[in-house]
Symmetry: C2
Subunit: 845 residues, 2 copies
């Protein structure tokens, strides 16, 4: 726990109640972490590869050698995804069992206390609140990363960003247990989105098993595996393999490899099979069928003339979906902004979930307000009744048919069926938007699906009321099936909220009937059309709220992305270092710019890009140049020259730093990268920016010799050397040319052209998970584009939607295109100076 805390501080992760916010742009930290992990991973893999070549491939893991051999015969991938499937099937089934037990518990408490109304209320509400408090508390204590949906985070992780602690065993435990309790409380939460996270966790943890370590070591394989695991998540929860895989793909990816999709399919088939087979074995179901089986007539499920009603339902759902996302974001941001309120909540971090769960469960209390909105039913029960085959009304009055089981609660003497359905839809709508701001693991998909089913049923019942004989003109009479509308509504609203089409498949798989495919598809298409043009998806909205480093999706109507070019958005004034620069230049640049990496050019004249060097690398170069070891050595040398007696005095302190004195015979000391950690003070360059260049000598001493060891040395020398001498020495050191030999140079493998379109840039950035890219013209650096500029450009072009205007800097573009003189000077600088050039070279985009 203590270790965890310190990690949060590093991440500057505010332990708030809302989602868990990051005050710092998370990307900055995440990238650093990723690099660090990648490096250590590389080292491991290099080591192990050497080992493999030395000892033969089976000698690596003693007891596992035969297992490994067996696995390599059949194929690691197949076995891995088979295991993942079984694990996820088990997890899903166990979760289902646990949640059902907890939900039954609440009903049992409610039933036992029916003698006293107040006690009954207390029991009902207390049960919910207690479970939520446990869930929230457990999440906070064990792993705060487990809170939230998980899809947004996985989206970010798959983009190449490494979020710390998101794929650990601790998080797995926290996520599974908290999720079970949160859902068991009866709050309008779902488990689909968290299962995407859980599946990825399972995959990541499986990778850590010795037999699968081969997968984990290779970064691209690891990411492919994560992508496939993501696709498994949803499918196994709802036993809807096809829809689940598609849904996971739609909400998690921008680009998807068909390879990963196959793996996902394989795994999810196993998972869904196990999930259902376990259900058959343990729950005495007769055989494997759909979760929410419907019994609509197959021969004539709907009439073509009902299509407008389905289309209308789709459009309403579209607006509803956008409203849901908007409402959720407003609530989240409102609570985030209330400073005073927030400070209070921060201290008592369980107050907010208590308040929310108290409010919601009070409203759902079946003997109170809940009786008007079927508060008694759990989500699954509600969904089953909403998909009911029969029509609930006849001529506007609740029909007196034999209400079996749970469907009874929809009939209330005061409000009609229309009333209960409308109340159910509206109340659950804002309740769900509110509930998913709690710091517990949650998914919004299932509650939204149920709300959509309610909305659909409402429209269906209205249709049945208006057209009691059906609207078929032919000889036979086919009455309208409100349950079909519920199916369509469920698909449409969930599709609108998540911006996905695969909800159609999922809903049809859930109901086990495919007859309403076409109306559902049309409704979902219309709902998406409306919702996508109004709001981002719920997952993108959460990404924005959490400020995760992710690019926004390109909308449908954005043609500007094809017309805006890199030159319109790039940063032209790039800070750079050259091969021949001095340490003083380095210092100045480090003080001026806050970039994570600086481009390395051959020279300021040729401007040819060689690669980039990370800030930390440069800092260590600089600190190495002015290191205490070098100071000491300098003193020693001078002392040896001047007086023999002085050298005896300066020796004792140098013994403290004996480890730094290896190889003092050479011109400069060999210090490898691993030994050289940049001094912590340099991490805050804002403080340095005040100090001007002239004072650099003094400043530098305070920076680079701030450690205790160094101060000691400094003190010793201050006695015998005047300050000016130190300043002189430092100035001389700074004037030397930088030796880049111990420096890691990142090659600039992906470069852009000025005329690359924003769309292409976006594609390249998303596909390759880039953070920034340099813009070059025949090898020469002319600008840089980072993810920030890209995000700004995409958001900016969104506001232009519908009206096509010339891109922001288009007026400059044509002139720069025609001014070939410009390019000529570029090429002149590159080429050896003997020849004079008059015409400009052309290049191709």
């Amino acid at each position: 726990m203590a270790g965890d805390r310190s990690d949060h501080r590093v991440l500057q992760y505010e332990q708030s109640l809302m989602y868990g916010r990051y005050t710092q742009e998370l990307g900055v930290y995440a990238k650093e972490e990723a690099t660090r992990l990648k490096e250590s991973g590389e080292k491991v893999s290099q080591r192990s590869r050497t080992l493999e070549h030395d000892n033969g491939r089976c000698a690596k893991f003693g007891p596992f050698r035969w297992l490994r051999f067996l696995i390599s015969l059949i194929g690691e991938d197949w076995i891995f995804f088979f295991l993942l499937g079984i694990l996820m099937g088990l997890a899903s089934w166990a979760m289902e069992l646990g949640i059902n037990m907890l939900l039954k518990g609440q009903k049992w408490v409610y039933g036992r206390l029916d003698s006293n109304g107040f006690l009954q209320y207390l029991g009902w509400v207390g049960y919910s609140v207690a479970l939520i408090v446990f869930s929230a508390g457990f999440t906070q204590i064990v792993s705060p990363q487990a809170a939230g949906s998980g899809i947004s985070e996985m989206k970010t992780i798959l983009r190449g960003v490494l979020l710390k602690e998101y794929l650990t065993f601790r998080t797995f435990v926290a996520k599974v247990i908290s999720l079970a309790f949160a859902l068991g409380s009866g709050m309008p939460l779902g488990k689909e989105a968290p299962f995407v996270h859980i599946a990825s966790l399972c995959g990541a943890l499986l990778c850590k098993l010795p037999v699968f370590r081969g997968i984990y070591e290779n970064e691209s394989r690891y990411r492919e595996m994560l992508a496939a695991a993501c696709a498994v998540g949803v499918g196994c929860v709802l036993a809807a393999p096809v829809g689940g895989v598609l849904f996971s793909i739609e909400v998690t990816f921008t680009f998807f490899a068909v390879r990963s999709y196959w793996r996902g399919f394989f795994s999810v088939t196993i998972a869904a099979f196990f999930f259902r087979v376990l259900a058959v074995w343990y729950k005495d179901e007769e055989t494997v069928t759909a979760l929410f089986r419907t019994h609509f007539q197959v021969d004539f499920p709907f009439d073509l003339k009902e299509m407008p009603a389905f289309a209308l339902l789709g459009i309403i759902s579209g607006f509803g979906g956008a409203l849901f996302v908007y409402l959720n974001r407003r609530i989240a941001l409102f609570i985030k902004k209330q400073k005073l309120f927030n400070t209070f909540l921060m201290k008592k971090c369980l107050v907010y979930p208590v308040m929310v769960s108290f409010l919601i469960s009070s409203l759902l209390f079946p003997s109170g307000f809940g009786q008007f909105m079927a508060g008694e039913l759990t989500q699954n029960e509600a969904l089953v009744t909403l998909l009911d085959n029969r029509t609930w009304t006849k001529d506007g009055i609740a029909e007196e048919f034999d209400y079996i089981g749970n469907a009874r609660v929809w009939m209330h003497p005061q409000v009609t069926v229309f009333g209960t359905l409308a109340l159910f839809t509206i109340m659950r709508f804002w309740m769900c938007a509110l509930a998913i701001t709690m710091p517990v693991p949650y998914g919004a998909f299932m509650p939204v699906l149920v709300i959509g089913a309610g909305l659909g049923r409402l429209v269906g019942e209205c249709m049945a009321y208006w057209f009691p004989e059906g609207i078929h003109a032919g000889h036979a009479i086919y009455p309208i099936v409100p349950g079909g509308y519920a199916v369509v509504g469920a698909a449409a609203l969930s599709g609108a909220v998540s911006h996905s089409f695969s909800t159609v498949v999922m809903v049809l798989e859930l109901t086990g009937q495919i007859s309403h495919l076409l109306p559902a598809l049309i409704a979902v298409v219309l709902a998406n059309l409306v919702a996508q043009s109004l709001q981002p998806s719920i997952y993108d909205s959460i990404i924005k709220i959490k400020k995760l480093p992710y690019l926004p999706e390109l909308g449908w109507g954005q043609h500007e992305v094809y017309n805006i070019r890199v030159e319109d958005i790039m940063v032209r004034d790039v800070q750079y270092i050259t091969l021949s620069c001095s340490y003083r230049d380095l210092l100045n640049i480090l003080m001026k710019s806050r970039l994570k990496a600086l481009p390395l050019l051959t020279s300021a004249e040729s401007m040819i890009l060689l690669g980039s060097i990370e800030r930390t690398q440069l800092q260590s170069l600089l600190s190495q140049q002015l290191s205490c070891a070098r100071r000491l050595q300098c003193i020693k040398e001078r002392g040896a020259e001047a007086k023999k007696l002085l050298s005896t005095e300066s020796n004792p302190p140098s013994n403290n730093n004996s480890s730094l004195q290896t190889g003092p015979e050479e011109g400069h000391i060999q210090v490898t990268n691993e030994e050289l950690n940049p001094p912590p003070v340099v991490e805050r360059p804002t403080e340095l920016s005040n100090s001007s260049r002239d004072e650099s000598g003094v400043t530098l001493r305070s920076i680079f010799c701030a450690s205790s060891d160094a101060e000691e040395v400094q003190d010793d020398r201050d006695v015998q050397d005047p300050t000016s001498e130190i300043t002189d020495w430092e100035a001389r050191q700074l004037d030397e040319r930088v030796n880049f030999n111990n420096c890691k140079i990142n090659p600039a493998l992906i470069q852009l052209l000025e005329c690359t379109s924003l769309h292409k840039t976006y594609t390249i950035f998303s596909l390759l998970g880039l953070d920034h890219a340099y813009v070059t013209r025949i090898g020469r650096l002319i600008g840089v584009v980072s993810i920030k500029e890209l995000r700004k450009a995409i958001d900016g072009s969104m506001t232009l939607k519908g009206v096509k205007v010339a891109p922001p800097m288009a007026t400059f573009r044509n002139s720069s295109l025609s001014s070939s003189q410009n390019e000529t000077t570029y090429l002149q600088a590159v080429r050896p100076p003997e020849e004079h050039v008059t015409d400009a070279p052309k290049h191709v985009c």
Copy 2:
């Protein structure tokens, strides 16, 4: 027709009967064409953009201005894909109608001639042969590109290769009409794969409408559109929107954008809706339902204990699918290799289809052998009967139930139901593999689906025979449903042949029942597991036969791709040119290498990569330097210096070339790129390679002055100048430094590192549609990888499957990694020479 012919000659496209083969690697030609088209497209777009900025955006297309404005308000994309959907729905419906009429025609002929057995046979076979001959002939005459499935070609096009004539109106007409006739002939062909091509054609043609020209102009938008259009293809044919979109994605892409998938879904929904609505309106169907509706019991569709049988069916289908692909390839390659046979077929290009269709339709003749294998039924009829709800046998004897309609034909007094089913499956199997080698538009999907259904039904009937009471142990008796096995078999075999999982969804959509989802999924997964490890998919197989420029798919078990690195496969001995090279160097390199593009470096010492220049560009540079115009000018200058009277003699011939004499006052003549087409002789560098460097003067004269105009000049001068003078002049010209200013330099935007894995390289090549990429180390060129090396490496690593060995050149790798001295010299060369460097820089993969 004549123009067409000449095009083929350029492409070196042999007009053979098999598929249409390319003797030259198609990629070479295609890339050239793509560049040419892209350039001309760029010019157009540049011109139109200027226009737009000048006149305001609505003034562009006079009569369409208001339409354009309306479209820009709603969003071009939505309208485009709406129109595409409607068009495809219409096309699909019209095609269905036409094919059904033609199929009925054959039955009508058969029925009318039932008085005479031989006449009946003649009518039956003649009808088939005539239609096939028309189809093949029409394809050959109008557009040979229309032959074949289309999926393989679209796969290649979407990879960024531009196949000529594949997306023209001519091809569209040929494809649609030939397809209708080919399918109407009753051959075992399908229409799914051609519809992928037709949908892309529709999209490409729609783009050419003035209102949508904006989409066509931008290359990345055009490709996105094509990707979405591809996804529309299959969905609208089978009215299976979800499965269709997924199938198209699986068989066409390696990576796909979720954006495209949405567009595809939108469009396919419209298409499927229209297709079915038109059917309702015209065919008096009551409402929109599935194409091949089944009526299985919903409550208990299958027992868990039947799972092993389904799994077995999946495995058999897997082997069957692999066998199908193998058989097809053997037939195709066999016929291709028979030289004599082939020459004969070439001349009478309709002989082969006549032979094949005669053979197949003879065997299918219902009164002959066809009576044992339900030859009377069309594919659709056969599928409907195979999906029948009832069991056909009881205790091994064909049950005497009321055979309604077509199901009657399965019962034959001599052979049992098992016999007809087995014969049907086996005969159709090889017939289909044979039929899809004919030069007509074809798809293999639907026939394979029907064969799979036959296989499944056979297994199902066997199960029903072995377990007449069902195998459920409980109280109730649920008999086995052979129709369910047919569904599973159809999905499994078609999945195995096409290497896709989405056939499950498609089959379920076709039958309108989702109850067999889980067994179908399991069977398809197993079938894919078997088939993918034995053979490539049918589409990849066709790509290989046609030698299209496409990368093979990465198989499941290939872990080597993660371990092989670029340094193991790259070409190290790269031919390059430097900024300071002379024309003689250029000439030598052009003679030595046959590369399409040469890398441009700053200098041979620094080796810093600036970009690449295409061969044609370099050739034009060289020919410009030694052009007749320059010769003339030189002569004129010398003449003016030496004698006045000689100049009067040399004037007349120069008048012929007056157009070349613009600006003779300057040091060299300004000739722009457009005027300078490389002389055709240079296109055959193999002839040149014999001539050694010393003779270059003489050789060059023959190369560069081979045109008639030039020879005239040459002749005139030969009289007055000795040959040695010309050689001297040419030698002097060749020693000059190259002026790259009029040259197009392609920037090397994507570079690789030595340590990049093969997997990552494959990903980058597939994603960005690369042809080659340079391998650099801190900006310095050290190698090149082209698609050829990549293909070889992937194919090579396939043979290593199962046994994990060290990658081919791994022994060299470690030494090169540790030899940092190597890199040091590299950096020394890059950096200005003042300083000496001892340690090596490191870089990150």
